[in-house]
């Protein structure tokens, strides 16, 4: 497997998961953010051009839940 390029986001799963120590409420908020962003990307998720933005937005909006 090739090394990640500088443009690559972290692994696709990373932004979706909550910390194991996160309270349930925060985990629920993170999941809601994930669902919401996936809804926004419903026609474009999986397209290579959208990949970095999709994951960056999930991570950014989940960080705002704190």
């Amino acid at each position: 497997m090739s090394e990640p390029r500088p443009l690559d986001p972290p692994s696709p799963e990373a932004p979706v998961e909550s910390s194991p120590a996160a309270p349930d409420g925060l985990a629920r908020q993170h999941e809601a953010v994930h669902q919401r962003v996936m809804r926004l990307f419903r026609h474009t998720a999986g397209e290579p051009g959208s990949d970095a933005l999709l994951h960056a937005v999930i991570r950014f909006r989940q960080e705002q839940c704190r």
Binding site: T44, L53, V57
Partner: protein, 279 residues
């Protein structure tokens, strides 16, 4: 209805309220490096509605100035000519394109998205070390063709919007079928009619098809900024969608993961202060 041609749409633009003279002068000044700044400041100040809007933004928390900006001349000194020209153009567009009242179209959401795209484009421009002024203007006005279509053809536009909702499709995919042209083409025609610099007219015309442009083009920046603004839901629409992103264009911009995160933060944090421009 019989489908209007792009030329008919451009001709009918004259039915809309005229663009303020100061806006036309600002557009002209974009193409010249030797601008009479004092004269421009005096003429901006003469249009009270526009001057008031500019000063409201200049005095907003976004700029964080210690001293109140009381005149357009002061605003140019403190914020710079580029920022003031962008503000004047934004204020002028809000005045001259009323947006009509088509079903399913929100003027507020339209301008929120334009502003969000402008701010995302500026954040990208900082990362890419590109001039901030043309990207802001192109971002703000990238969908202006849609506003013209709504203003001139409210019923057909509403019918198209109904179909888009019913079939969960982006309206931009249906425009050509309903009108014979899409909002990007309409916007480029308007920008050309109003003598915008060719690079801005081109970016407006190709923001959904930037693959036709060289890597790193202004159209490519607006293409990415449009999607960023949608993804952050700056328009406040209840069920928005992020448009298709052209991979070669995104790769050509070369924005790293860290830079992209900074662009999102920068765009979202500036948006609330700059919303004053719209109200």
């Amino acid at each position: 209805m019989s489908r209007p041609s792009l030329a008919e749409l451009t001709g009918q633009i004259r039915q809309l309220p005229a663009m303020p003279l100061i806006a036309l002068e600002v557009i002209r000044s974009l193409q010249h490096s030797d601008v009479d700044v004092e004269g421009l400041a005096r003429r901006i100040a003469q249009d009270q509605a526009i001057a008031a809007r500019v000063l409201r933004v200049a005095n907003s928390p976004f700029y964080g100035l210690q001293k109140r900006v009381a005149s357009i001349h002061d605003a140019i000194v403190v914020l710079g000519l580029a920022a003031v020209r962008s503000l004047v153009l934004a204020a002028s567009m809000l005045t001259c394109l009323p947006g009509g009242s088509a079903r399913g179209f929100s003027r507020d959401a339209f301008w929120r998205h334009g502003l969000g795209t402008a701010l995302a484009a500026q954040a990208l421009a900082r990362v890419l070390q590109r001039p901030a002024e043309p990207v802001f203007i192109a971002g703000l006005l990238h969908d202006i063709g849609r506003l013209a279509m709504v203003s001139l053809y409210p019923e057909p536009y509403a019918a198209m919007q109904d179909q888009a909702v019913r079939e969960d499709l982006p309206p931009s995919l249906l425009e050509a079928g309903h009108f014979g042209f899409d909002h990007a083409e309409a916007g480029a025609s308007l920008a050309t009619l109003w003598n915008f610099p060719p690079a801005i007219a081109d970016a407006i015309g190709r923001h959904h098809t930037p693959g036709e442009c060289p890597p790193g083009s202004l159209a490519g920046i607006i293409h990415y900024a449009d999607a960023i603004a949608r993804a952050l839901e700056l328009d406040g629409e209840p069920d928005g969608q992020v448009p298709h992103l052209d991979q070669a264009t995104i790769d050509g911009l070369g924005v790293s993961w860290e830079q992209l995160n900074g662009v999102l933060e920068d765009t979202a944090s500036r948006f609330e202060s700059c919303r004053l421009m719209l109200g």
